[in-house]
Symmetry: C2
Subunit: 569 residues, 2 copies
């Protein structure tokens, strides 16, 4: 590998800027600035959602962004704090940290370290495929529940009352209801105005910087009217300057407790990021390298951890804005990171009077759109069992907790697949009149069956969980026949693989038929299955000439004639 | 349902004895007596293996046997204490009971109650299918490891030294080695003679009552020569009389700790029992009802629990003896239970001088045959991955523990199946010269491909874990083509099912092709898949006439001609 090829391999940005021109720069500059204007208030809001000081959100929006821009293979992906990961951080850290903000921030940085290490490790070990096991219905159910929890968790800030942190919807609602009388009416007014502005602007002028508007408007209102004197909670002192670099304090006992949530964040964060990255890569026709993405996000989180940040990933909404504003390369993200750094250096005093209710309004309006009602409707139409999995994950997340919910969903979706495959679709075949085509007699009543011949098709790979089903089905079908069985013809085209137990079961079945003078035929056996049958001596057992390409060849070879049934007779 | 039908439904024995004659009685009587002669020493040995007083094994061989005889659908199955379940009881109870034999026995009875309740519940809920998820390689690995642990756990009794209870092979071996100098030579002599007699008789005279021989021989030797004075451990006082009936004392805290092991015993015990029952039912041509079997075993365990027994199930070796000796109906088991009851009433003093080393020899020779070397050799030949699963389960059982081992095996076998199905076999198809048959070009180099047409076959159901693989495969195959793509023909015969995510992925794929002017054809789509494609609007998307029966019909319809490759060119 030449030095320049190696450079491009290590730093995909080098390849992106190979032919950088002024048009590309104009696009990146506009996108970088636009995204920064959206990012600054969002980052502060999401940090608050994670239970952290708003400044940690800004720390998470400088070095991690720049790191991803250098290492990532997406040209548009906007990395930084996102709602889902922030909620997972809150769920994982709040139980361990108690009430001390310093401990809380330190644990969040340790979490970023763990997430970074896991993602980097998975990238090096090429484990990006693991996200395949998170199915869409599970993600939809999990995201919908998390969005509800996130949105409702902001009720306290919106009302200006202190309610205990909880991840159970009924506890949050009940606490909010009990404290409703104590609500600060000025805060409620600011929150309501912010929500209204955000909702209306999103609909009427989606490209208008609505987050900046409510932040500036809310800050000016509090500052001008002295509303903080009336009990409106404000962000207050934000320490100016860039974050210092240091390894977070790690206590071994806490490390163990953080590992499950770190694993969840690693996978869920990567899943969200890679889906968004692939989506925009398809639109702009370039390739995403999943393992390089894992490494890039991993190193971004490791660097973030050193600078006191909390876990980040690529998010959908800011990436969409970045793309619309013209981002062509990772330079756009470098510009965004630069703007956030300038904000940290010079503009933090401006956030003093920013009302927390405005940040809560930003969170709430952002996440309620994630409750995936249309996805549920789609599943209702195309697949009820998948809707069931979505509903199960949704309810498990709401009732058992954030991490448990996704675990229940993944296990249930795997079990459901195995269970379904353990009772495969089996079709009894008959010959369509005037042809050599054999089809399911249940769907084609005109198809002719041959007395003494059982022709059937099994539509699944054969494996340990369906061998018993196969035996039972063959016995049941035989006992339904009027004529004594002479031939069994198995259409094996849909049998994609067989495991050892299936081979043993087939040997037992074939053996049983042979002893009773019933001959066995196999039609259209797939190459890998054919190899396995040979290895196990099953081809010898039934006779090499009983392996045919098509069902009609076997039945023609028996010399028995199909009988045309009278439809409806 | 008439009263007599209902009776036969509740008590399958009623149906078995409908035409009971003297020949049947002679068979049942001989079998009942023979099995009892084998059962009495085995039951005492297995109870000792479970960590219980030998008498508990006899309690477990009276009422539970009679209960199963009334309720079970097998005519030959011999229910009672078995080695595997005894080991599971030892593993589950020993940690909770401490050193108090009374607590130990009470916990074993509670375990029988839990196992009975679970099995009855699974029978009522028709959950017998759950055992399908225990694959043969997992059972073989688990059984082999358990047999090693069981066999070695008897070393202390064989040597006449006290070694701490453990389920880790290296700990047992190390302890035996350290205490080797303290071995009681007389005990070692009795043990060695018993093992030799059992091994030789099993080979030379398999139908000779060898267990009775070593028990009588060992007892006479100790009694006649006064060997107990020389330090040979004997069974000692066995309280005479039948067990009283009472509900075991249950402490709620212990209940929770017993549930995992109860679940394992419920499933593993049922698995062993139903395999044995089905095996003999096939030989004698009658039917086994899996759910009724669960209920029968469940009630047998519940009744056993009330009479101070520990969990029982149907075992292989005694069932084989029962069958060989002529058992025709459950009456044989009633006779066996009667003989054990008589033993309890009148013959317990005879066991006073029975050496524990003889019981240990019975256990050890019985279980070492369960180390499944030939099974491993078979898997090496037919399926290395399945051998890997067997090895993994074996090692996990030895290193992590009895229950953990089977859990690891079940999860690994499910994941392996999903993982394999998530990377299905894909074949690029070409036309065999002079035919309309399309086959895998990798296996048939003479098969002709059509420039501009990508014809391929996917050998697996499409589901969430292989949608990404499908997309990546299509892209990779297209990029290998020299000619611009005009048609994609998907042979869907091996696609047995599609889930919602697969439908979404297909829509995206088909949409992408359509936008680029590539037409999509589907050949041999299965009924249920066809329905799903219709529901999701995918048939409309590609055009109803693009659904064909066979691949060649699609390619003929394109009007493009296959090009014959020169083999080896």
């Amino acid at each position: 590998m030449s030095t320049s090829t190696r450079l491009k391999h290590l730093f995909p940005l080098a390849a992106q800027i190979r032919r950088y021109d002024s048009a590309t720069l104009r696009g990146d500059l506009a996108a970088g600035l636009t995204t920064a204007i959206m990012l600054v208030p969002q980052a502060m809001a999401y940090a608050m959602l994670a239970g952290l000081d708003p400044i940690i959100g800004l720390y998470a929006s400088t070095l991690p962004l720049a790191t991803y821009a250098l290492l990532g293979t997406s040209r548009q992906l906007a990395v930084g704090p996102v709602a889902m990961v922030s909620l997972l951080v809150a769920s994982g850290v709040s139980a361990l940290a108690g009430d001390d903000p310093g401990t809380y921030a330190a644990l969040a940085a340790v979490l970023a370290l763990l997430v970074g290490g896991m993602q980097l490790g998975m990238g090096v070990l090429r484990l990006g495929f693991l996200v395949r096991f998170l199915s869409h219905p599970v993600i939809a159910g999990f995201t919908s529940a998390a969005a509800l929890i996130i949105g409702l968790s902001q009720l306290g800030h919106l009302l200006g009352v202190k309610i205990a942190r909880s991840h159970h919807v009924h506890e949050i609602l009940w606490a909010a209801l009990r404290h409703l009388g104590e609500a600060n009416l000025v805060t409620v007014g600011i929150s309501a105005a912010s929500i209204a502005a955000l909702v209306v602007l999103k609909r009427l002028a989606p490209r208008f910087p609505r987050f900046l508007l409510v932040v500036v408007g809310g800050t000016l209102a509090v500052w001008g009217l002295g509303l903080d004197q009336l009990g409106v909670a404000i962000v207050g002192d934000v320490p100016p300057g860039l974050p210092g670099l240091s390894l977070p304090r790690i206590e071994p006992t806490q490390l163990g407790a953080l590992i499950p949530v770190a694993l969840t964040i690693s996978l869920v964060g990567f899943m969200e990021s890679i889906s968004v990255a692939k989506n925009f890569a398809r639109v702009h026709r370039y390739e995403i390298d999943a393992d390089q993405e894992l490494k890039a996000l991993g190193i971004a989180n490791l660097v973030g951890s050193l600078s006191g940040a909390y876990p980040v990933t690529g998010g959908f909404s800011r990436t969409a804005v970045n793309d619309q504003a013209g981002a062509r390369t990772g330079v756009a993200s470098l510009i965004t990171a630069g703007v956030v750094a300038l904000t940290l250096l010079f503009f933090t005093p401006l956030f003093y009077y920013l009302p927390r209710g405005v940040l809560a309004a930003i969170i709430m309006t952002a996440v309620f759109g994630l409750v995936d009602v249309s996805g549920a409707r789609h599943l209702w139409r195309v697949s009820r069992p998948d809707l069931g999995l979505m509903g199960l994950t949704f309810l498990a997340t709401l009732s058992l907790g954030i991490e448990q919910g996704i675990g229940v969903g993944v296990i249930a979706s795997l079990l459901w697949f195995v269970w379904r495959t353990s009772r495969p679709h089996v079709a009894v075949l008959g010959r369509l009149p005037g042809s050599t085509v054999y089809r399911n007699v249940a769907r084609h009543p005109e198809a002719a069956q041959t007395p003494g011949v059982l022709a059937l098709r099994i539509d699944a790979p054969l494996f340990f969980a369906n061998t018993a089903f196969l035996k039972a089905t063959l016995d049941a079908l035989e006992s339904e026949e009027d004529h004594p069985l002479q031939h069994v013809v198995l259409d094996a085209k849909a049998i994609g693989s067989v495991d050892a137990q299936a081979l043993d079961a087939l040997e037992e079945i074939f053996d049983g038929y042979q002893h009773r003078g019933v001959s066995v035929w196999l039609a259209g056996v797939r190459g890998p299955v054919r190899d396995a049958l040979h290895e196990a001596g099953l081809v010898e057992l039934i006779g090499e000439d009983h392996l045919v390409e098509r069902v009609h060849q076997a039945i023609d070879a028996t010399g028995l004639a199909p009988i045309v049934r009278l439809v409806g007779g």
